[in-house]
Amino acid sequence: MFEQSSAMRDALLTEIYNEMQRNDKIILLSADFGAPILDKIRKDFPDNFMNVGIAEQNLVNIATGFALEGFDVYIYAIAAFLSMRAYEMIRTNIALMTQLKPLNINLVGVGAGISYVLSGPTHHCLEDITAIRLLPHITLFSPSDVVLTKKFFNYSLQKKIPKYIRFDSKILPSIYSVEDNINFDDGFVELRDAKKKCIVATGYMTHKALTVSADLKKENIDCGVIDMFLLTNYNKTALAEILKKYDTIITLEEAFINRGGLDSLIANIIADYNLSAKLIRLGFKDKFVFENGTREYLHSLQGLAIENIKEIIKEN
């Protein structure tokens, strides 16, 4: 069993390992990308695992073949290269074809946002939310902790549809508890309730939103937090119902803004449901990040330091 402090990828791979003990229909393919638990999988289940080499396009094509034959397929690679190097394969072989045939392909990308902090802009992944949201028929899962990830695994087995799963590469603290009943048809959870202001965040940034909310609380300012973990196929009406009570909504993502990501998702909800809330979009400006430093330092260059966000919320 994984520890609460494990990375989300290890939590998912542990679930896959456990399921392989009783289910021979599971296939895990890696583009030469590893994890400690993966060593156990390839040793104990050599007939259910393959390393296809550093070849993301072929990875997606091979996965399609297995899925067409009824297997539940998980493919594992670095998020930037899985979502963008193999994009046209994902579009044509997966999104397009699954309109006609059921394909249970789970694209697991590690390294969401700038979580590969020091690897630079080639390994940062500030585009995958927008890129995958562009395609019909793919459920986009952007979890914030291992509990959510573990719970999603059963959903991923039962729902015979394509899914893109973006993991932060770092170990993050748990937000949810095992007892929490997560509704994957809704696709979000209101973690902190408030009256006027609310941050909607995803993945790593949900942790930051919780910190900001807790800090503001000490100053007697209420700020809600919504963790948006499905960025496609979420329950729009339920989301609008929650958002309608807020005057100011702040979207917070480790992604380029104004380009179809989480901010656009919320902007669409505000427009479609005639909500009166003011929208503030926080994320990465239109520049790749060549600077080195800690994650928080890189955030500060974008105006995304905790203090920056607190000030913005106070002003609005």
Partner: protein, 272 residues
């Protein structure tokens, strides 16, 4: 296995004529690249090398056929209709509003396993299907038909390396080597030769034949399917783009050329 080569020859002639007729109904279909694989398709389907059943299309024990060269697969329409995969009246409606059959076949058409038209996807997908069949202990084969121009796509070589290394011997790649891409002869774009050596170096079992000699096509495909060798297999079928239509055969831009109804009528009269 005994084979009536004269029968296959007559079916190939019939299919060439039906493909031309179909093209005259829908000039937006790619005729030149659909005429080069006629003998290959004839041997696979009428020679019953490919194990498929129109009465049970998703039969688990079928062979899987992927037509990766989507544009050049229009000959499959009259062929599949004749074999009962869908109603022959669909042929008359090709490319019309709400028609089943469009300019490039998709997997909503009975008899097509995958969506085609985007080059470089078929072989990798075929590798996955072939491995899945092995895992299911299903002795079906996967046939992938590719054009030579498609070999310019890098993803094809990812799959070629992968299949050779993993000894995927229930996978048969057929290259319709018609030597012309869209704008020019392939050898003027990037020379693919020596093609046999390339595949041999990637650990494939290679045969090269005249792709319009129905006996050679049939016999070699049977050999590839039955030979007990632990390698993926490739048939390099040397063909002529626009085969049977002199004005296309000599034109390096024939991929994008359409024939008029009158030209097709004259050709049909000559082929008779």
């Amino acid at each position: 296995m005994k084979c009536d080569y004269d029968y296959l020859k007559s079916r190939a002639l019939w299919l060439r004529k039906e493909t031309l007729k179909l093209h005259s109904l829908a000039p937006e279909t790619r005729i030149a690249s659909s005429l080069s694989p006629i003998e290959i398709l004839t041997a696979l389907y009428y020679g019953k090398i490919l194990k498929v059943d129109s009465a049970n299309i998703n039969n688990e024990n079928r062979d899987r056929f992927i037509s990766s060269k989507g544009h050049g697969s229009i000959a499959m329409y009259p062929l599949l209709a004749d074999l009962g995969f869908f109603d022959k009246t669909e042929l008359q409606k090709v490319c019309q509003p709400n028609a089943l059959l469009g300019g490039i076949p998709d997997c909503n058409i009975p008899g097509f396993e995958t969506t085609n038209g985007s080059l470089g996807l078929g072989l990798g997908t075929g590798c996955g299907i072939a491995l899945a069949l092995k895992k299911k202990k299903n002795d079906g084969f996967v046939f992938v038909l590719s054009g030579d121009g498609e070999l310019f796509e890098g993803s094809v070589w990812e799959a070629i390396m992968f299949a050779g290394h993993n000894k995927i011997n229930n996978l048969i790649l057929i290259i319709d080597n018609n030597k012309i891409s869209m704008l020019d002869y392939c050898k003027n774009i990037i020379d693919l030769e020596p093609l046999e050596e390339k595949f041999k170096n990637f650990k494939w079992y290679v045969k090269r034949i005249d792709g319009h000699n129905i006996k050679e096509v049939y016999d070699t495909l049977i050999d590839l399917k039955t030979s007990d060798i632990s390698m993926p297999k490739v048939l390099i079928a040397d063909t002529v783009k626009g085969k049977g239509v002199p004005i296309l055969e000599t034109d390096s831009l024939c991929h994008i050329k359409s024939l008029t109804k009158e030209q097709v009528d004259n050709l049909l009269a000559e082929l008779n």
